[in-house]
């Protein structure tokens, strides 16, 4: 806005009646807090219906959940597209905006209605938008996007105006009043002279699914690899997840939304053609979820989409082997201290090539319980060999300094393996 308008509005609002200024300064409110009103109403309802329920069969309909929200994109020729599901894509018009002078921008409208035009009831929901890890609210602008609230006869929701040079991601979440994620979408904006929006991931809370069904659905082989981020969107799962990247690992936070965010950021920041990701996630309540080999070098999108993930129980996990049909050995290296230390483990032995290492050894991150006092992190190496081999396991920190080294001599025997520790520092 220009300075003249700003001055006019500042002066105009400065003249608001003193009685109103005084009244608004007090913090007391006439109505009792919402939870008190809700509790009172609920108690009355229970009393009223209590005897009726004793006589009536319990075939009440499932609770109504807020309708999904859709993304509306307008192309250069004026045609509008409404996007909802993962994989939906549409062009967006290039335009100009005072918000980003000199930039070619796009406009996306997030309509808080369903396709029938029913408005999302914001009384019991909250809207969140994250960009580059930062939570943004309507009225906020960062270097690349600006969000505003938009309400008129035709539209009810939020408008995002933004720009990017190649691609950008915006995470949009609608939560219930107690914080549960009801809907989440990540949109990917791509620019190559034209803008295109792509619903990268889409998640909707489905109350009738069991936990296992939901997680299995999230890992449906028909989904794109971005399904990884959908795990973190699940309202069922509270977990401590580790993303193992060959350069180290990062602990994700326990809350599903932050984990999703970090995971997405990792996925975006890392060139997926060059790195291998292993995602290990576990929760004492919901069993274990194991996703392996999410990315290999040079996998195409179609190939990644075909990688299978499945839910495993703890028992399955404990008996899991990456080398079916092979007699394997396991060795654990534990590092005391904070999970956030970004250490890297490497395995070396005479004549080893990258392919040999991948074919013979699997490294899994391990984590102690959530009890901080006994916290540790480390690795479990699972491998198989055919002849006695001296293995050097080296842990280096982020700066490349060796902080731990173990030299093992592993000998295959008739019944298994013999592992001798030749040297251990410190």
């Amino acid at each position: 806005m220009n300075e003249t308008s700003k001055k006019i509005l500042l002066d105009a609002t400065a003249g608001i009646r003193e009685e109103y200024i005084e009244a608004a300064a007090t913090t007391t409110t006439k109505s009792s807090p919402r939870w008190v009103r809700f509790a009172a109403a609920a108690a009355a309802l229970v009393l009223l219906l209590g005897s009726t329920l004793l006589l009536w069969p319990d075939n009440r309909p499932q609770a109504e959940y807020p309708p999904f929200f859709a993304i509306r994109a307008c192309a250069q020729d004026g045609t509008e597209a409404t996007l909802d599901s993962a994989g939906d894509t549409a062009p967006i018009a290039v335009t100009q905006s005072d918000l980003f002078p000199g930039k070619e921008v796009y406009v996306l409208d997030i309509s808080l209605t369903d396709t029938q035009g029913n408005r999302l009831d914001l009384e019991d929901s909250t809207f969140q938008c994250r960009h580059n890890g930062e939570l943004m609210e309507p009225g906020m602008t960062d270097e690349q996007i600006s969000i505003s609230w938009l309400e008129n006869d035709d539209f009810y929701g939020y408008r995002i105006v933004g720009w990017c040079e190649k691609w950008d991601y915006i995470d949009i979440t609608i939560r219930s009043k107690d914080g549960m994620i009801l809907h989440q979408k990540t949109v990917r904006i791509e620019f190559d002279g034209q803008y295109c929006v792509d619903v990268y991931t889409s998640y909707t809370y489905e109350p009738n699914l069991t936990t296992e069904e939901l997680i299995a659905k999230l890992f449906d082989t028909g989904q794109r690899y971005a399904a990884h981020t959908s795990i973190a969107s699940s309202p069922y799962v509270e977990y401590r997840a580790l993303v193992y990247h060959c350069g180290g690992f990062a602990e994700l936070e326990e809350r599903a939304d932050a984990a999703s965010l970090l995971l997405q950021r990792w996925l975006r920041e890392m060139d997926k053609a060059e790195h291998t990701y292993t995602i290990l996630e576990y929760s004492g309540r919901f069993g274990l979820l194991l996703a392996q080999e999410a990315y290999w070098n040079n996998l195409t999108d179609e190939e990644i989409a075909l990688v299978e993930y499945r839910v495993v129980t703890r028992q399955e996990y404990e008996s899991y082997t990456p080398f079916p049909g092979k007699q394997t050995f396991s060795y654990e290296i534990k590092m005391e201290g904070s999970y956030t230390q970004r250490n890297q483990l490497s395995i070396d032995y005479e004549g080893a090539t990258e392919q040999d290492r991948a074919a013979h050894f699997s490294i899994m991150n391990i984590l102690s319980s959530a009890d901080a006092e006994s916290a540790f992190h480390g690795w479990e190496i699972t491998g198989w060999i055919e002849k006695p081999t001296e293995l050097t396991l080296t842990v280096t920190n982020k700066a490349g300094t060796i902080i731990r080294q173990v030299v093992l001599f592993v000998t295959p025997t008739e019944t298994g393996y013999q592992i001798d520790i030749l040297k251990e520092t410190p």
Binding site: S5, I21, A23, E137, G139
Partner: protein, 185 residues
């Protein structure tokens, strides 16, 4: 100490008057200035300047509502400071609130367009007269005090989303009144 007693101290040129205002309204004023300036040190300086201005203006002034009077001084000084410090701050403070309010005005680019803040104030006050207590409180907290929706929600016992929605509807109603009074930008 009630407001009239404090005002009396000003009239007696007792320095206890400033101390009394600081004790009663100091933290509220600081919060208000912070809403505008988004900087604790600048806000503290503005509040100090406002207290000095209060000392210089009373007497001869004898305000009916001390907080409203003092808050206007804080607001004006903070806005001047904001102009002085102004950079490309786009996502905080009063800029966002004023931009919301600007949407209430219909643009009419004619040479005859005259901007009169006095007329706008009149319409805003008439508009506020017609609101219920909660609506009025929400509007004033947002466009006079520049509070965030979350903070307003806590004050009035509503969720942030509801406050946001309510503000949007209030702006629509204000827009209709401004159109009716033929006030354009």
């Amino acid at each position: 100490m009630d407001d009239q007693q404090i005002i009396e101290l000003f009239w007696q040129r007792s320095e206890a008057a400033v101390a009394a205002v600081k004790q009663k309204y100091g933290s509220r004023a600081l919060r208000f200035a912070c809403n505008l300036l988004n900087n604790q040190q600048d806000a503290e300086e503005c509040v100090s300047d406002a207290l000095l201005a209060l000392w210089q203006q009373i007497p001869p002034e004898r305000p009916r509502h001390l907080w409203a009077y003092f808050s206007r001084i804080v607001r004006n000084i903070s806005c001047c400071r904001l102009d002085y410090l102004h950079a490309a701050r786009r996502d905080r403070g009063c800029e966002v609130c004023l931009a919301e309010l600007e949407d209430c005005f219909i643009s009419q680019q004619t040479p005859e367009t005259v901007l009169e803040s006095g007329r706008i104030t009149l319409v805003i006050n008439q508009f506020l007269d017609g609101l219920d207590d909660t609506g009025r409180r929400i509007f004033v907290r947002r466009y006079y005090y520049f509070d965030s929706c979350a903070d307003i929600g806590k004050l009035v016992g509503l969720s942030r989303g509801t406050v946001n929605t309510r503000l949007s509807r209030l702006r629509q109603e204000l827009r209709k009144q401004l159109e009716k009074e033929e006030i354009f930008v």
